[in-house]
């Protein structure tokens, strides 16, 4: 089937109502040259994520600077969808992001968006593959505000402030909050690097939130691997073992 006959489904994400208006206007103007339909719009990241989970689309026009969750972070979560959309970033002015886009050949549009430029980007999007996560990670200036976990067709956002610990288990990392556990498919080393300000490594396979440390107790077995110290986290009964190599943190945080 040739994709050219099928209308491209487009979704708009921007926190400013007039900016969404403008995009709708220009998209409608484009539709004469290019079959497309606007299937929805959202004014913030989590709303967009919810809607796009229900309704897969071909292309998302995504504003970078938004409160709470910026466009780069949202695109990272969108990659976890079974059929991730192609993302075209939009920005009025962001020197840093633009440099990064150029460097990684990520498509972006400058606001105010011109019709010709939009048609061009949409045409390219037909055959494009979603941007790689590694690239998106390099684009982001600051750590994500949320982790995301894909579970039975739905994406859960886990605000990073609620995470008590991260523990690597085989090919997954367990994310623990006061309420429950989630599984995410990321590497502990990358998480440690991204959230260095927030987490401290207590064991080869475990990072705990510095803010959540309540105290330390002796209790674990003292052997070559373990120093016998355990961490108690706020709101959690479970105790986590500290490795011999990391036992200096007992002094630092104790």
């Amino acid at each position: 089937m040739s994709g050219n006959q099928q209308a491209l489904s487009v979704f708009i994400v921007d926190d400013e109502p007039p900016a969404r208006n403008r995009l709708r206007d220009v998209l409608n103007d484009c539709s004469e040259k290019l079959p497309l339909k606007i299937v929805g719009e959202a004014s913030n990241g989590s709303e967009a994520l919810d809607m796009l989970t229900e309704l897969p689309v071909d292309v998302v026009l995504l504003d970078i600077r938004m409160p709470q969750m910026d466009g780069i972070e949202l695109s990272q979560h969108l990659l976890k969808l079974p059929k991730p959309p192609v993302i075209i970033f939009t920005t009025a002015y962001d020197e840093y992001a633009i440099k990064a886009f150029e460097l990684h050949a990520v498509d972006y549009l400058l606001k105010p968006i011109r019709q010709a430029r939009l048609v061009e980007a949409l045409n390219r999007a037909r055959n494009a593959v979603p941007v790689k996560n590694e690239v998106l990670q390099e684009l982001s200036r600051e750590p994500r505000r949320n982790l995301s976990s894909h579970e039975r067709g739905k994406i859960h956002l886990i605000p990073i402030g609620q995470v008590l610990y991260l523990r690597a288990e085989l090919k997954y990392v367990t994310v623990r909050t006061v309420e429950r556990e989630y599984l995410i498919e990321e590497s502990l080393a990358a998480l440690e690097k991204e959230f260095a300000a927030r987490f401290v490594r207590i064991h080869r396979n475990c990072l705990v939130a510095k803010e959540a440390i309540e105290g330390f107790v002796r209790g674990g077995e003292d052997n070559a691997e373990s120093a016998g110290w355990m961490v108690k986290l706020k709101g959690l009964d479970e105790l986590l073992a500290i490795s011999r190599r990391q036992q200096h943190i007992v002094k630092e945080f104790g």
Partner: protein, 353 residues
């Protein structure tokens, strides 16, 4: 009421210090007495001798110094009319004449302990006071140069900061967004933008009527509200504002722009900016307070270009008579500025071109 006078040729560096400014007066007192202390030190035979020598010198210095300050205070409007070099000449000469007059009139106090060469004594005091006067003038000149150099360098940068590209492009985009459905609002928005940019591109050293700055700030906020809708709320609180008050132009608007960009925009639910303006006695007080994300949630540090520029301009125009205070709370940010209530531009004189 068009009091924003043009000062095309007028440069802040080309002006005598404002002798009616408390900060200037304080500096003059401090520096002259500092020099007196140096003199006492150079004459003294030992540490114990220093206070006595100092007393002697201060007794001679103080009458001249205070009379000179009084004279300059009175002559300020007249000095304002002069070219810089004329002013320097006038100040130095009047200090010399004043010294002579006091020397001959106050007789006893200045009568020499040893010598009886009254002409030498008189000449000595005149030379000393003219030297002190010149040193002070050089100091003020250098200080003004230093401050206005900073001002000059910062100007391009500041022009950029004032017209934040983010604001420019987003606003144009927003106008485009409403132009088909609400053409009239789009027209008003473009008019507001024109006013704002005209002001941003004019000379930063002008004083403008307070009411004009308030109006401009409201136009600016209207533009931001067009973009952000309900998320941006503003509470104005104005009390006893005199109609004729003048303030440095673009003093309030950049504070509001910071409050929007760093405070309200990153907040998902938005928030309310509180602007309080009032006059107390001889002072105008401006306060801008905005809520902001707690630091832990990734509040980013703003660039301080706009703020440091405001501080520099206040220093240059009002010296210690203007105060500036920033308070960063857990979830709010507050800037307070107090400046003298003036009805015309101080210090910087007008010169015909």
């Amino acid at each position: 009421m068009n009091k924003a006078r043009s000062i095309k040729q007028n440069d802040a560096t080309d002006a005598l210090p404002n002798f009616r400014n408390v900060g200037i007066t304080l500096r003059i007192l401090l520096i002259s007495n500092g020099m007196a202390l140096l003199l006492a030190l150079s004459q003294a035979n030992g540490w114990a001798d220093v206070p006595q020598r100092m007393m002697q010198i201060v007794m001679l210095l103080t009458p001249i110094l205070l009379t000179a300050l009084l004279l300059l205070w009175a002559a300020q409007p007249w000095l304002d009319q002069l070219e810089y070099w004329q002013g320097v000449l006038a100040v130095t000469l009047s200090v010399a004449v004043l010294t002579l007059a006091i020397y001959y009139l106050a007789g006893e106090l200045y009568s020499p302990l040893v010598g009886d060469d009254r002409n030498f004594e008189a000449a000595r005091y005149v030379i000393l006071s003219m030297t002190v006067g010149s040193i002070l003038l050089v100091y003020f000149r250098l200080r003004t140069l230093a401050l206005s150099r900073g001002l000059h360098d910062a100007r391009l940068q500041v022009l950029r900061a004032r017209i934040r590209p983010h604001f420019l492009f987003n606003t144009i985009n927003a106008v485009l967004g409403i132009v088909r459905t609400q053409p009239r609002q789009a027209e008003t928005a473009l008019e507001d933008m024109a006013d704002l940019f005209r002001m941003a591109m004019s000379d930063a050293r002008d004083l403008v009527p307070l009411q004009k700055e308030i109006q401009l700030s409201k136009q600016y906020l209207a533009l931001e509200q067009m973009r952000m809708g309900e998320r941006l709320q503003v509470e104005w609180q104005m009390q006893d504002l005199p109609e004729d008050a003048m303030i440095p132009q673009l003093l309030l608007q950049p504070l509001l722009e910071n409050a929007v960009y760093h405070g309200i925009e990153p907040l998902p639910q938005g928030g309310s900016i509180k602007v309080a303006l009032r006059r107390t006695g001889e002072e105008l007080q401006l306060r801008v307070e905005n809520p902001c994300l707690p630091l832990s949630e990734g509040r980013h540090r703003g660039n301080k270009v706009a703020l440091s520029n405001i501080r520099e301009r206040l220093d240059l125009l009002f010296d210690v008579e203007a105060r500036y205070q920033v308070e960063t709370g857990k979830d709010f940010y507050r800037v307070e500025i107090a400046l003298p209530y003036v009805t015309k531009r101080p210090k910087l004189k007008e010169r015909s071109t």
